[in-house]
């Protein structure tokens, strides 16, 4: 088995709208930053993989436009997932593990501002029984939140505390979209209030992965991926126990998350109620620093927010603030699909 690490991470400022920027305009500064951090040239990257969604842009094959930003001519080895960039990172990790590449550039971006994201996300639902009813993303999250409250796993005060902690932590994150006090906020879809829900915004992120000594040469303290796995639950919401996330727990077990405690967890929980579910599924104690970046409640660029969790966790290892960190990404309604990675600094390994 090869050792693979995240050696660089960059993200854009996340903003409510970026009308003046095309997708490639949004992405390029982030790509340039990770390349500069490592000193790699675009043509030295072994594999490139991206995550984005045509439905956000409202245009077919929209990701091909963004490809201009990576210097795709002469031809490069490239792939794309119509999903959060965390899954693009998984594909890149596999590419490196199989020896097909030594380095990989992974990027993700999403501009939610052109459309109505609540409506757009209905198009990922089952087309027979769900999509014709247009249940929007807040409605589905609210059903999950109510189930959690009914089960007694959380109360209103606990949800508000999560929102407050996220916004407070986001004040130290120059890229965050929302910081400071949580507005009392009206009910958007009961029981979710404004503060329980993620902002809608535009943003991009990129990481560079490298294997073994290449990683050590590119980064003083690489964030080694000790394990990574992703699992999915039944598509039908009525079949699932919405108060639990067995797919997260299973992915975490396969990623080795329970072998030793982690000190940091970057959880992709766009809704306060989802953080409660993930903490339980991952068996995180109160001593674990959860979402020091502010998490998805402070910035939730769709298709990039999961990759940012991996990047933020890695960045904490890069700067010595974490020894062993867990990163989680989700996709689909009500935590349908979940990816978990365990990252470690060199000292923890040795």
């Amino acid at each position: 088995m090869r050792d693979v690490a995240i050696v660089a991470f960059a993200q854009s400022p996340h903003r409510r709208r970026t009308d003046e920027l095309s997708e490639v305009d949004l992405l390029m500064p982030v790509l340039h930053q990770v390349l500069e951090t490592t000193g790699l040239k675009a043509n030295e990257i072994g594999f490139t993989c991206s995550g984005s969604a045509d439905y956000l842009a409202g245009r077919a094959f929209s990701f091909t436009m963004a490809l201009d930003g990576v210097g795709a001519h002469p031809p490069i080895s490239e792939s794309h997932v119509e999903m959060d960039g965390a899954w693009a990172l998984y594909e890149a990790w596999v590419k490196i593990m199989t020896g097909e590449a030594d380095t990989a550039l992974v990027y993700a971006y999403g501009k939610s501002s052109p459309g109505q994201v609540r409506d757009v996300l209905t198009r990922q639902l089952d087309p027979y029984y769900l999509a014709p009813l247009w249940p929007d993303s807040l409605a589905l999250a609210a059903l999950q939140a109510q189930a959690l409250l009914d089960a007694g796993h959380a109360d209103r005060a606990a949800l508000t505390a999560i929102a407050t902690r996220s916004r407070t932590d986001a004040a130290a994150n120059p890229y965050a979209q929302l910081t400071g006090d949580v507005p009392a906020g009206g009910l958007l879809v009961h029981p979710l209030r404004t503060g329980d829900c993620p902002p809608i915004g535009d943003g991009a992120a990129a990481v560079i992965l490298a294997a073994g000594d290449t990683a050590r040469a590119l980064c003083a303290r690489p964030a080694w991926i000790r394990g990574i796995d992703h699992r999915i639950e039944a598509h039908a919401l009525g079949v699932r126990d919405l108060t639990d996330s067995p797919s997260t727990r299973l992915a975490a077990r396969h990623a080795g998350a329970f072998e030793r405690p982690v000190d940091t967890a970057e959880l992709h929980a766009p809704f306060t109620s989802q953080e409660v579910i993930l903490r339980t599924a991952l068996d995180l104690g109160d001593d674990v620093r959860v979402n020091p970046s502010g998490g998805a409640l402070a910035a939730n660029p769709i298709m990039a927010a999961g990759l940012i969790r991996l990047g933020e966790a890695a960045a904490r290892i890069h700067r010595g603030a974490s020894v062993r960190a867990l990163a989680h990404a989700t996709s689909g309604p009500c935590l349908q699909q979940n990816l978990v990675a365990v990252l470690e600094g060199e000292s923890a390994h040795g």
Partner: protein
């Protein structure tokens, strides 16, 4: 600073799906006011039914009829209904476990306000007046105080006369598209019948239409360069199939055209010359229709053909 253009962009299509035997029976059943579930390998009854067991992945075909009454397992109050949602007035989203089923169905509940909704409340189906074999044949749920329906599901063959075998679901999403700086400048120039590209600061290539980045260097292009209006046909094809909604007689010629000064060919239609006389190297110029945002087509300039070496890099 270029003015940033924006325009409405509507993505609209009829989403046409064929149904397998289980989904066909379920949706046809709704048309006939009959709710069917399917029994799994471990004996549970799934409503709505699926064709493969979510636990074992085995094929499921054992259909059962369940009651039109049920219990709310979770809910969410929707104070501001959105377009195409089941009810136009504020309503609750609910997951309902129908009597006889072990899993829950998502739909809307018509209730006067959030205080009238709680988990565990009893509800029943309100059927749509016109039913076609779709999930929307259930208009919504409504509160129900009557006797519980039979909780024992009844085996059902899933056979109906005139079964629904497919559904067509309209989908519409509305966007406001902003093309960004480079394409905004390009579109603005076209208003004056000018074509502008952008030059890469590193490799000096001029891209048209400009997309804001050089795909070779992976860096932003910025320097605006006017190109054309004349250009050279670098390659072409003859179209013999008439496209729907396109008022152009076939055969016609569709070509790649390298405008003078550009390092990338764009595409356009060639007219004003018999289709079988179009050739690589042909020199052409744009013809603008009144009020159009793009050249209608390109026609021969009458100049001698360009030599192959002058455009071979652009083919």
């Amino acid at each position: 600073m270029t003015e940033i253009l924006s325009a409405p962009l509507v993505v609209e299509f009829p989403f046409t799906r064929s149904l397998g035997p289980v989904q066909s029976a379920f949706l046809t059943g709704l048309r006939e006011r009959t709710v069917l579930g399917v029994r799994t390998d471990d004996g549970r009854v799934l409503v709505p039914p699926v064709e493969y067991d979510p636990v074992t992945a085995n094929e499921l075909r054992s259909l059962l009829r369940v009651a039109p009454t049920g219990t709310v397992t979770t809910w969410a109050w929707n104070p501001a209904p959105r377009r195409d949602q089941p009810l136009g007035t504020p309503f609750a989203w609910v997951l309902v476990r129908l009597d006889g089923a072990d899993t829950a169905l998502l739909h809307a509940l018509d209730a006067p306000g959030p205080d009238a909704v709680h988990t565990g409340m009893r509800v029943r189906i309100r059927w749509a007046a016109t039913r076609t074999g779709a999930i929307t044949d259930i208009a919504c749920f409504e509160p129900y105080d009557g006797e519980p329906g039979t909780t024992e599901p009844v085996p059902h063959g899933g056979e109906f006369t005139d079964s629904v075998t497919g559904i067509t679901v309209p989908a519409r999403l509305d966007y406001v598209h902003t093309p960004g700086r480079a394409q905004s400048a390009y579109l603005k120039a076209l208003e004056d019948h000018r074509t502008v590209g952008e030059r890469c600061p590193a490799c000096r290539k001029v891209y048209v239409p400009p997309r804001g980045a050089c795909p070779t260097c992976g860096i932003a292009t910025a320097e605006q360069v006017e190109v054309g209006p004349r250009g050279t046909v670098t390659t072409f094809c003859i179209v013999n199939i008439k496209a729907k909604n396109l008022d152009i007689d076939v055969p016609y010629v569709y070509a790649h055209i390298a405008l003078d000064g550009a390092d990338l060919a764009l595409h356009g239609r060639i007219a004003g010359i018999p289709y079988d006389q179009v050739r690589m190297g042909l020199r052409v110029e744009p013809v603008w229709a009144e009020g159009a945002r793009h050249p209608d087509h390109y026609r021969p300039t009458g100049e001698p053909d360009a030599g192959y070496d002058t455009y071979k890099e652009l083919v």
